[in-house]
Symmetry: C2
Subunit: 176 residues, 2 copies
């Protein structure tokens, strides 16, 4: 599907089939995540990719009830900021750079027929600390978001286009 | 092109032709911006869309030297967070939600043959304050990013695929 259709059809999918995601497909998804722009091209992210069910359950435990879909996911990705790479003039651009990577990941997944749901971690301190502890991350690596991935249990979910989501009240022309 | 190709071909384009972007195309780009996920579906963004050359120059003045491409842009978008809509439990998710909107905007533009460059504003305080003052924004509206848009001066730029950007060192399997 074309780029606009992928943006239209991407939706949060929380139930997955047992069909595994191949390593080749996973590589394509991660590659897409690394193709977004980043501040001064810092590429200040890193990714932890998990298939182990026990670890997926622990990631869900650490991220609160919205993270339940991870328990049935085929793959979970913890996207992190890597502060050793961040722009020294304004390190907090890492938050934006990792967001861009994650949006590319969920769009690439949709293009490849894979469902995903983005589970917020940063800036909720308890979740951030929970993931840091689970993976024993160095101080320079900050958990940003979890993404659960799997082929949709209901195959139709990814073929539905959504209605227009344009909100005229949120667009201002030439001035506020 | 398909969704993966758009992600691969999107690149920062800083020189534009005189060809105007039609209102219909601009609407499609903004619609894409509003189709990303957001925390608890808060949709906590708003957009100021500028074609006026004088205003584009003032936006560039307020955003430092990397914002020079705005002066030759056909359209500039100031994407903002709208804190009145943010998730009360963790308002700073607005930073992520606006990032997602901006990434959808630059990808939709690429699909439609339009070049773009994402110009960082937040978290650089001087830039944020400069845009706030220029547009006399209410306190609840925080400038996040500028996006310059225009048909590429060099049409070939958007047809070039980039090499793989996959960095194995930034991917960890199962554990850190």
């Amino acid at each position: 599907m074309n780029g606009l259709d992928v943006i239209r059809k991407r939706r949060s999918i929380r139930e997955y089939s047992e069909k595994p995601i191949s390593d080749e497909v996973l590589h394509e998804i991660l590659d897409a995540g690394m193709r977004g722009p980043s501040c001064v091209n810092a590429r200040d992210w890193s990714f932890i990719v998990v298939k182990d069910k026990d670890t997926l359950n622990k990631m869900a435990d650490a991220n609160g009830s919205p993270a339940e879909p991870l328990r049935g996911a085929n793959v979970g990705i913890l996207a992190c900021g890597d502060l050793k790479r961040s722009f020294k003039g304004a390190p907090d651009y890492w938050i934006i750079d990792v967001s861009i990577a994650c949006q590319n990941i969920v769009l690439a997944a949709a293009e490849l027929g894979i469902g995903s749901v983005w589970l917020g971690t940063y800036p909720q301190t308890e979740r951030v600390e929970g993931q840091k502890k689970l993976f024993q991350l160095p101080d320079s690596v900050i958990p940003h978001s979890l993404i659960a991935l799997g082929y949709p249990k209901n195959q139709e979910e990814l073929s539905l286009g959504s209605r227009s989501e344009y909100e005229p009240s949120q667009v201002h022309f030439e001035k506020w």
